[in-house]
């Protein structure tokens, strides 16, 4: 079985994330890391691969630093990596990203077909949660998304999906795109052995030309949406904080009554 895990390199959420003057996410001024939500995808890919004698290829699209995200996935146990990097990709939106991912998955599968494309539920920076659906649309394969539990039997993937009003069980046949939530597993930390083994693994670097993607179809100029303005929200100013000395609950009720919540 062949699994491609799509991972994104994102600015650290606990750092001061910001924007560049062209309104794109600042990916240079802030430390980046493998999106935490994509660790769940890597973990699931490794689990499925282990049970089905499979291979995991990690795929990332992004600037130079994005290589770190692929590297970390290799340390976790992925077998090989692909990093798509190209000047023209700067400022790409979900449409462009899904296009590049689709072409890359096709290229990875050119000799030995890909059975599952695994994604996280959303990137922790853009947080659109739409790339997996777009990728499935572009690849013309089934999508099983937001899976909180997955079983693989033969060529059938069954997933539990905790929807808004119901819990659904969804079934589809490979090849398919599968996205997983943070409820699905407990991602492993790279072991010392894993870190050493990763040093011998290769990450191939592909450009848009390697994928036959026209640079005019990606990047900021091709974006289908235009950011008009970005403003830092004024920090919330701290209100009154009292210490409970036996009256805290009543003080709280007083405040709520004063604000007409009671």
């Amino acid at each position: 079985m062949r699994i491609v895990a799509c991972v994104k390199h994102v600015p650290d959420a606990t750092a001061n994330r910001s924007f560049d003057t062209d309104h794109t996410v600042d990916r240079a001024g802030v430390d980046g890391l493998l999106s935490e939500l994509d660790e769940y995808a890597v973990e699931e890919a490794l689990t499925i691969a282990a049970a089905h004698d499979g291979e995991v290829v990690v795929l990332t699209v992004g600037p130079e630093q994005a290589l770190d995200a692929a590297r970390k996935s290799l340390q976790m146990g992925a077998h090989a990596g692909v990093h798509v990097v190209d000047e023209a990709l700067h400022g790409s939106d979900a449409f462009a990203t899904s296009l590049v991912l689709a072409r890359a998955v096709e290229k990875i599968g050119a000799d030995t077909p890909v059975d599952i494309v695994l994604c996280g539920m959303a990137s922790t920076d853009g947080a659109m949660g739409v790339v997996p659906a777009m990728l499935a649309e572009r690849l013309g394969v089934p999508q099983v998304t937001f899976a909180a539990e997955v079983t693989v039997e033969g060529a059938t993937v069954t997933a539990r999906r905790d929807g808004d009003v119901a819990t659904e069980t969804v079934e589809a046949s490979m090849p398919l795109v599968l996205s997983v939530t943070d409820q699905i597993n407990e991602p492993r930390y790279p072991s010392f052995k894993g870190i050493m083994a990763a040093k011998k693994k290769t990450v191939e670097t592909w450009s848009l030309a390697d994928l036959g993607v026209d640079p005019a179809d990606v990047g900021l100029p091709a974006a289908w949406t235009t950011v008009q303005a970005v403003d830092a929200r004024p920090p919330r100013s701290q209100g009154e904080v009292v210490t409970d000395e036996g009256e805290g609950g009543r003080q709280l009720a007083d405040y709520l009554a004063g604000q007409k919540f009671i």
């Binding site: 309104h23 947080a127 659109m128 949660g129 659906a133 999508q143 998304t145 069980t169 398919l176 405040y255």
Partner: protein, 319 residues
Amino acid sequence: MSEILVLVDHVDGSVRKTTTELLTIARRLGEPSAVFVGAGIDAARETLAAYGAEKIYLLDAPELADYLVVPQAEALAQLVASAAPAAVLVPSTPEAREVAARLAVKTGSGLITDAVDVQPGPEGTPLTTQSVFAGAFTVQASVARGTPVVVVKPNSATPEPASGAGAEETIAVTVSEAAKTARVVKREPRTKSGRPELTEAAIVVSGGRGTGGDFSAVEALADALGAAVGASRAAVDSGWYPHSYQVGQTGKTVSPQLYVANGISGAIQHRAGMQTAKTIVAVNKDAEAPIFELVDFGVVGDLKQVLPQATEEIARRKG
């Protein structure tokens, strides 16, 4: 006047509040048409017209319920092609978000997710506001291509009644074989809590690790205030409260009038789900907890003492 499609969010015809918000927003941009997918229109038509739907498109086919996302995206793409609307507004549910994503790819249109406000921009095209990086920034954006598809968060507008004609039109849906691939083999409705829905509630009272696993004080305060109950991921991961009540980056985003955080430290991922609440109140025994940076009012104290006292006091005042 240009037509604005609103994808109706409903459970067996019972229309969720977000739909009335979307219809209200649609009226700012043009003439709202409700798109009702599935069965149950009898329970829905009155509400849709009462919030200004001039037209109601009825899309029904067994495939729409049996297969995930794709048939709905196909059906909507057909409707967009025939009705040529000026924009499509979609609620921010997991399924609708992906329907929007695929609709946008199919129709070659720009997509904006999780708008917290939508106003008419130049030439009437939607100008959206999004809240990003856990609420640290607001972004204004518009769509540069195709038919704007906008996913709108709950509580992004106050629903305003307006009578619409509600003229119904049944659309024949053709679902391709290629769309029938991810089959829903089982659907178990959520058990209802009897409290207001988390994303719609005017007041949310939530609990975190600091509850130590006992949510009774949190629930009692919630009931005294007529509020929904929420939980932090730490509480959910510990198995104390179901995942569907999680507030934050990987749970629900809430934007209530009042958010009361109890025994929650205020991690960035939790903030991402509640930062846009109008008023924030916290009870935490650690005066240094980051949640206090956000609060309008805070109590440093043990929630096991503070909450029952507050609940009792509220009950007393209500008489």
